[in-house]
Symmetry: D2
Subunit: 353 residues, 4 copies
């Protein structure tokens, strides 16, 4: 069973994000899914029995036979990926961190806490240093690291190089979000066939505050300092399975032409690319030059779902520049983000292994 | 056959907008569909034979038996509604106006010309005066009056009361547009199932310039003066049959609270309401207070598709205020707009009858 | 408040079918919605507060202010329409029937019981006689009358004239059913976008047995005698909001040509048509002659949703004849069916008023 | 450029099926795409310029730079795959066959001709012998081999083992077909959002006659003898991108239980499996045991889209047995079928190389 790979646990393993963790980790070179955790309804069954697998015809064989454990399980894996529902995540993740596990969480619960890194390796890898303060503050042998909301992550991946190059002052983002972001059963089909829902509870606020934390600084003495960039989001649910589309207008301190912005997007690289992390996309931001791209059904799986795809870079009469960004919301926007964080931590010697 | 109602012709009668004209005029108290015009492929057939009716189970009986005429028909009706495709509209509409017809056009061709009114009766009824200049300039006995693009009209209906009350400085609008706006066959289903297309050719530019003309002034000496409001639009096609949803952020010269803005929307009335025009909605802008409305499938037919439905009025961290506006794109956004223009002209004695 | 119309109660008033009852009864000439019943979650709220209205922009004003009562309410209305969920319907409906109410139920619970009429007024109006036996058997002063499953009703409306004219021997029906048939929240959008679910729990069995009861006889001495017709159903859920499409092949004892079958469909009339009941469609079965009709989005609202729309009548190489039938599943397929039953009972003096 | 693989041409390369050929052949071990042919509109452009690639984010690099040739091109590749539109296929395919090319065609034009094999390697590999007669009859140095319609192929893959084991007498199949089967632009989205179209021109007839040819015999003296099995099809278009679902009832000469039928499906193997052809699925028919599978969005890509997925095997009250079969319509249902035919011919020494 042991093959030299680090055993990991997946919390919320039967849900949409949990299934994506299992899928992404199936052939991972460094990590091996060893433990699966879900609610009491699933505990005691095999993963095959407990799960209505919805990512492809059949679930990975390696996971199918594992026994699902309940939320109070005494886990052995040093690394824990969490796709838990928000309402139960808090306590469970804290308990595991206290016991020494590295908890890489996709859940929103701890994201904005003052000693919890909210991390995108290409954007703010240095925020990882906050785990030292976190451990000290809380007396934990492990820690919690979070990744942003599925809309925030693709927005910020695109904004980071612009912020570095031209200085962001304001951002207006309107999202057209896929239904997989709401989990399963999630959005009723009577709300989606021939329809748009111009509201996703809490989503606009998450984007507005998470983006500021991500683009801001970290200092052990003073903690996180949000970036002085004003964000405004309009969030919509649309009849798309996977892939969030975002229409973005930006105000730059030093205005740039579309050609300059495209060049800035395309030359952007971060630590995952420098380190050649297994899940890193070769380019974090891919630019499409066709007038009508990116589109979710065609582009969401580009770079295995780990990149943000930008298109339609053009002047904005009001704010200066505008563009469209698309990204896979359950790969780079959720499970893949946590996995990339874990890969960075492994290289940086931060995993408890 | 004559029942005292004014006989009207519908150009482009077999298309999406043409069908909507026929439907809206079926029981109109003032107008009677007397002539139907379409391309040579349909000419010489009855409307029933020529048309793949797609608005309900069966087409209005009164229209079904009419013989469709070709583009070069010598029309008898004083009033002509045009839902012609842009590529043929120019010449045909001009020829008819020259011959004395009142041409009420939904086509974009003439909208931005310096002597052609682009009209929303609640917004800029006084622009109708430009038809005098138009006739003089062109030596026509008739005239052309246009209504705006389907996205522009609902946006501007919502913006007009805000502009009057608080002074608009800038507007950022992101649209989620229905497929009926693209006509038939229009958008292929392979581009819409499980997808969003973040681009509609020419649409963003139309919104940006039409809105300025609509909110601007008119003076016989100086012509149209565009409003000094900066507009920026992001346009998307989404898998919705009818009803355009628009996410709007506005910068006001005199900022207002959401409560004030809601009050301003709800108290807005225009000449159609004062005059009690047959197709006028009781309230041009209806406000929904639920957190997740308006939605196309539920709200597009409110007020028989003739009103703009607003919701989610709230502060915008970047521009000051934001909200969602939804409207039926082929009723108030197209055929219904032309019909309301004709009703206004009748009351004002501007129809050649 | 009293206007001479019979006060009625709606059970399960906040659900999909309950909302349809409220909508259909809004302007009913004989019945007036006086009481609304739903689960304890809604009891004590006004209908407006308790209900997420999903049939149009706004709910009927007359119902909006009514106070919703709980399942154990002591109802005053002599006539009760039930759109209760199956798991609670049994006991509640029985209690009300025992107390003297006429319970017209859309729920499946009692449909196949040996003393409960399963009724389509055009098909088996004489089955209503079973309520005498029912009252005697059960010692009730009221009674329960049911209408069939949403797929069964449109299938049987189309089959009845064929059975009478040519003798049915076998029927194979494959359904493509709308999501509104599953209630709300019902089918998750992750199961419907870009997908078909070839299974609806219990549906095939319902069609197979209900159709036999409907086409069979009733005799007070011997009860219901199922028709000797073999039915086989394949049921599918498809991404359609309203309107079930059914592909039907039939084996007739006396084979008929498509022209004869069309003539048989079109000349079919039943007691609702003879009596001119308010909700009766002029023709129970409407035939479309276009090669590609009926289609749900265009035809489901024909005859206000109360007729079955047939098309593509043609020979079946295997069974003899085949055709497509479409019907609105929550109007004639649910609430409208119960209302029509009540109208028949009123004329026949069977209502407790 | 030459790497030992056989150079092949793709006709109709820019269309839906043509794109699928290019995708499937990208890494093929035996064939290499050397020539691309499309209409004059595309001729003279690179494939990248000429094609609106719709299968994934980016087209295969190896094809992108090839120059597209017109229909009258003088091709060098011995093997030609055809995804031509029916209206032009006839003459072009014949001209190429006459000149010595092996034409493997997905187009319907020649399928039912008395000397043209209609081939599924698992079903009727021996029909390939008809190419000798074809060459002799027509004086050609090459030949045309066809594969069936996208619905027929998955139906017949499932029926073949049943026919061999139990003797088919009658088959009733109702299809729910994906829009990709209609090409691009194909089905308008106004015909698919919230809708079903219960008609596909010519499709029912194709299924009924092609299936008989496929399950029938071939004898050089007497030609093709259609199987004495009666087929009846109902064809529907549904809002699904890829993957045709078919509800099938069968009458067997020797009735079998569901368990026996499942065992028969699962043990079915054909020549592609025996020979281990590169595109052969390990099992031509895969059986799902869940009550609600197969479903297009989850199962169409199973076995890389080359297998037929069966589920819901159960008794049919009318015909004896019923089940659901699903298959990818542009992989095994179109391009993949032609490729598998070519692989069989290579092993059998029938390719002109």
């Amino acid at each position: 069973m042991s093959d030299g790979r680090i055993p990991v646990a997946v919390l919320g393993a039967t849900g949409n994000v949990g299934q994506r963790f299992v899928q992404l980790l199936e052939c991972h070179p460094w990590f091996r899914v060893a433990e699966l955790v879900a609610s009491e309804r699933s505990a005691g069954k095999t993963y095959r029995e407990a799960t209505d697998w919805r990512l492809s015809a059949t679930m990975p064989e390696s996971a199918a036979g594992l026994m699902v454990q309940g939320y109070d399980a005494d886990l052995q894996s040093p690394v824990v990926f969490s796709g838990l529902p928000g309402e139960v995540a808090g306590e469970i993740e804290q308990r595991l961190a206290a016991r020494g596990h590295a908890v890489l969480s996709n859940t929103s619960t701890h994201r904005m806490e003052p000693d919890v890194p909210l991390l995108i390796p290409e954007v703010n890898a240095d925020h990882a240093r906050a785990i030292e303060t976190q451990r000290k503050n809380r007396g934990w042998s492990g820690y919690i690291v979070t990744n942003p909301n599925c809309s925030t992550i693709h927005l910020v991946l695109a904004l980071k190089p612009l912020h570095d190059a031209y200085g962001l002052e304001g951002v207006l983002a309107t999202t057209l979000q896929a239904v997989s972001g709401a989990g399963y059963p999630g959005v009723p089909s009577l709300d989606m066939i021939d329809n748009v829902v111009p509201y996703i509870g809490g989503e606009e606020e998450k984007i507005e505050v998470e983006a500021q934390k991500l683009l801001g600084g970290y200092d052990p003495a003073q903690g996180f300092q949000p970036a002085a960039v004003v964000f405004s989001a309009h969030c919509n649910r649309v009849p798309v399975r996977d892939g969030h589309t975002e229409c973005v207008s930006v105000k730059l301190a030093n205005p740039a032409t579309p050609e300059e912005i495209i060049e800035t997007f395309e030359s952007f690289r971060g630590r995952p690319q420098e380190l050649g992390l297994p899940s890193a996309p070769p380019q974090p931001v891919i630019v499409r030059r066709e007038p009508n791209r990116p589109q979710p059904v065609f582009d969401r799986d580009d770079a295995k779902g780990m990149a943000s795809i930008v298109g339609r870079v053009r002047p904005c009469p009001l704010l200066g520049s505008k563009f469209v960004v698309l990204g896979h919301n359950t790969v780079r926007g959720a499970a893949g983000a946590s996995v990339l964080n874990a890969e960075l931590f492994k290289v940086d010697g931060l995993l408890p292994v």
